[in-house]
């Protein structure tokens, strides 16, 4: 892995983001509006449900950035004619994408923080976080786990110009299955099993654990188990995306799809 390429991906994504205002809408404004609508719906309710709403918005913001923005960058490269020069360099596409994902995760984090602050200040949600430091730590972990899932889905963009088809298919199911919208326990049992293999589900569980006093965690495990599972699952997702990406990189050279867009 080339650290310089990761940094290059990060920097290029940052400049691209800052100089191109169109990104602000999907990555900052939409999740924010979503949270406001949720809060409006739940305006008479207090306690964990409000937390669920704010959490939902925050996670959506992070997810939108880690999945949508990161994977779309490759579609952009294909359209823009920069995919081929990138491929032509000795660097792995994985490294560049990782750098870009890190930038997008950073924007996702800003987004989540913004949502929590506004929810608190304007709506006075009175989110009394039981353990604010722990909560922030879990937020970062969740973000990391979302990025790992995003990386795997991004490989589809490298593979085909139909990538957005895949990311659209996966974006909302994963959002729901992770327990960001409604608690996982409210999902049908068969779907809950899928949740357990998604690292963000454990992250969100851990976030709730540190926010709500006496929270009964998913599967009744301790928060340390949550953390361990997040780390293991995220590492697995990252490894899988590394392997799939290497295969895909070779594959597009043989099927000749690198230059079509």
């Amino acid at each position: 892995m080339s650290f310089r390429a990761v940094k290059a991906g990060f920097r290029q994504q940052a400049i691209q983001f800052i100089t191109d205002p169109q990104w602000i809408i999907p990555s900052l404004i939409l999740p924010f509006l979503f949270t406001m609508v949720m809060l409006f719906i739940y305006r008479d309710v207090t306690g964990p449900i409000v937390l669920q709403a704010v959490l939902g918005g925050g996670v959506l913001g992070m997810w939108a950035n880690t999945l949508f923005a990161s994977s779309f960058t490759i579609a952009y490269d294909r359209m823009n004619g920069t995919f081929e020069p990138m491929l032509c360099s000795p660097t792995r596409i994985f490294d560049i994408l990782l750098g870009r994902s890190l930038w997008n995760a950073f924007i996702g984090l800003l987004n989540a923080i913004l949502i929590f602050i506004v929810a608190e200040l304007i709506f006075g949600t009175g989110l009394s976080l039981m353990n604010p430091i722990g909560f922030f730590f879990m937020l970062i972990l969740t973000l990391f786990s979302l990025s790992s899932v995003g990386m795997l889905i991004s490989t589809s963009f490298v593979f085909t110009r139909m990538g957005s088809f895949f990311s659209s298919i996966f974006e909302y199911p994963i959002y729901v299955l992770s327990g960001a919208l409604v608690p996982i326990t409210m999902l049908p049992t068969s779907l809950q099993y899928i949740s357990y293999i998604l690292p963000p589900a454990w992250g969100i569980d851990a976030m709730k654990y540190s926010a709500i006093e006496g929270y009964e965690s998913m599967m009744g495990v301790s928060v340390y188990t949550d953390i361990l599972v997040i780390l293991i699952l995220s590492a697995l997702f990252l490894m899988a995306s590394f392997l799939v990406m290497s295969k895909v990189e070779r594959r597009i050279l043989s099927d000749g799809s690198a230059t079509r867009y």
Partner: protein
Amino acid sequence: MDDSDYAIVVENLTRTFSSHHNGNPKKVAVDGISFTVKKGEIYGILGPNGAGKTTTIKMLSTLLIPTSGKATILGLDVTDEKNVRTLRNRINVVSGGERGLYYRLSGRQNLEFFADLYNIPKKKQKKLIDDLLELVELTDAADIKTENYSRGMKQRIHIAHALINDPEILYLDEPTIGLDPEISKEIRSLIRKLSDGGKTIILTTHYMFEAEELCNHMIIMSGGKIVGKGNVTDIKNSISNSSSIRVVTEREPVFAIESIRTQMNADSKVTKLLNGRFVTKFTIPIEYNDLSMYENIFRQYNIKNIGVEEITLEDAYLALVGDGEE
């Protein structure tokens, strides 16, 4: 010749594409081509649209895996996955055109991004990029976003980008397409300069004069096959091994015609012009096209003009490509 004198050795290289959309399942884009490129040469690939030029360049630059056949680049087999990264460090490609740049980034930022992808240390980048910008004469525009660049500036930044890893082989796919004559000329002299600096250059073009001006050797492709190969003279000769001489004289060259017939076994055609002069045309084998010899033979008739009526590269190209297409 030693193997190491060759930058590129291509043997029976073939690439097919499966096109599920239209009726025929397989399209043969490149069909069993073979050629060699010596180190330091400028090698041309000519041919009409769809001939397979770009497909060939992609295979030789590791961006497309051949369906069959062999290509050895700098002694390394391109089809071997192990060689891909090594090769990418030692070659580069200019695909050019309007695309291929991050428009929101300046020329310098674009170059920095690619310098990072070639793992060039930050310390070295500054000087390298300044030098490249100077080489392509973009120093003043370095910090302007590339979305504001003209077509010519974009092409020049593409070339700077392709030089970032100081490649031993540089592939240029239609480097002057869509550029005005003046900028095209600048790009050609830049290509010449790079070649003088020792780089091996593979160039595709639709312009005969460009190939004639730059290329030491070339292939002409049509329908995925090679229909002509060699230096400019070889290509011209491949359609005809003769050249024709045209002499304008004040008086009718009776004896000259006779001596050409007896010495070269060539028939002449003489026409009288309205101004009273005579035009004599005859075709001789290419090895006898030494004009001084004919100046001697025609001297006594007072020569007004003498020259070889050249078969142009374009004549040869059109004839070869026409044959290839059937």
